[in-house]
């Protein structure tokens, strides 16, 4: 996901002002994925929200010397979100991988079963399938998919709960009001 462009950055301007400008855009970006990412079926927005969280987290960590404990606390919360979304993403990556692997086994087994049929057979004897070379592998892989689906469901529900708790406590306001310098900016002479 491409980051939203931040307008008005000035390389010769104060770091603190420029960083504040970038952080405000990245906060907006993160919150922009809600409500879409709260839908358990919306894989893409959950993935994009994770990337937005990662960008904001690095930015807040980097800004700690500027904005002090507010940035530190914010980074910690955003990291928590990023971690949960990361685990959801791992499930979303694993499911098609297992599915593809099982598909490959099925294709190999089908080829082996066809090869074991007598030459000129008009139909396939169902008994030949019991000797399919990968027959002992399917059950564990199906259980792995069941586990991964169930885990994804549970993690997503946890993510929704975490997000709702953050909204209730006014996390966005908390983050934005943390963007004050940690100590007075020294005046130029």
């Amino acid at each position: 996901m491409k980051a939203r462009k931040v307008k008005g950055l000035d390389p010769d301007g104060p770091l603190v002002d420029n960083m504040r400008r970038v952080i405000v855009v990245r906060i907006d970006e993160l919150f922009g994925f809600v409500p879409a990412a709260l839908d358990p079926a919306n894989v893409e927005d959950a993935h994009n929200m994770r990337i937005a969280a990662k960008r904001l987290r690095y930015l807040l960590e980097l800004s700690e010397p500027l904005f002090g404990s507010g940035a530190k606390k914010g980074a910690k919360v955003v990291k928590g979100l990023q971690d949960t979304l990361g685990e959801i993403h791992d499930c979303d990556e694993l499911l098609p991988l297992v599915d593809g692997f099982v598909g490959g086994l099925r294709a190999e087994d089908a080829a082996a079963v066809v090869a074991s049929a007598p030459p000129g057979a008009e139909d396939l004897d169902p008994a030949l399938s019991k000797d399919a070379p990968h027959r002992s592998r399917y059950r564990g892989l199906e259980l792995l998919m069941v586990h991964t689906r169930a885990r994804r469901e549970l993690l997503h529900a946890r993510f929704v709960q975490e997000w709702q708790a953050l909204e209730e406590r006014g996390f966005r306001d908390e983050l934005e009001s943390a963007l004050q310098p940690a100590e007075p900016v020294p005046q130029a002479e």
């Binding site: 420029n18 980097l62 500027l66 692997f101 564990g140």
Partner: protein, 159 residues
């Protein structure tokens, strides 16, 4: 996981470009400090640390993009992204295999066979990724990425 080093140029009285220069210097140095450990297949944390350091470098290059000469920045950022991708291909199977192991432990012994097969296939892919990582690290050394990153920092400072 190695924690990020402090960046001396991130101060309240710094300009954006001073901080940009300092951030790229520190983060680039971090990435290259993990070079040898990343290729050691017996040390799974080495590749992870280099990947995290690469992400941090990429983050500062994106945050401070306006402070760098456009063309050189674009080229270096593209190469940092490529490095991050190959590190990901090398690292992701470690995480997946650890997850599969956890599930396998919870199943009856007879049901573990299929999962072991998947682990084996992931390990084969990982061996290929390790070769690609070695080639990528050689390439960025040959193309002097580190020196070009330092040059970017110098350019940012000069303005």
């Amino acid at each position: 996981m190695a924690s990020a080093r402090d960046i001396p140029g991130i101060t309240l009285d710094a300009t954006f470009r001073e901080a940009a220069a300092s951030a790229v210097e520190v983060r680039a140095d971090e990435v290259f400090s993990f070079r040898d450990r990343a290729l050691d297949t017996g040390d799974i944390e080495g590749v992870h640390d280099m990947r995290v350091a690469t992400r941090r470098l990429r983050a500062v290059m994106e945050i401070f993009a306006v402070c760098f000469p456009k063309q050189q920045h674009r080229r270096a950022l593209r190469e940092v992204k490529e490095l991050a991708d190959v590190l990901g291909e090398r690292r992701d199977p470690d995480v997946m295999i650890a997850g599969l192991e956890k599930v396998a432990q919870g199943l009856a012994a007879a049901d573990r066979t299929g999962i072991r097969g998947l682990e084996e296939s992931l390990r084969e892919e990982q061996a290929g990724a390790n070769e690609r990582l070695a080639a990528m690290l050689d390439r960025i050394e040959r193309d002097r990425l580190r020196e070009r990153l330092i040059a970017l920092a110098v350019e940012a400072r000069l303005g």
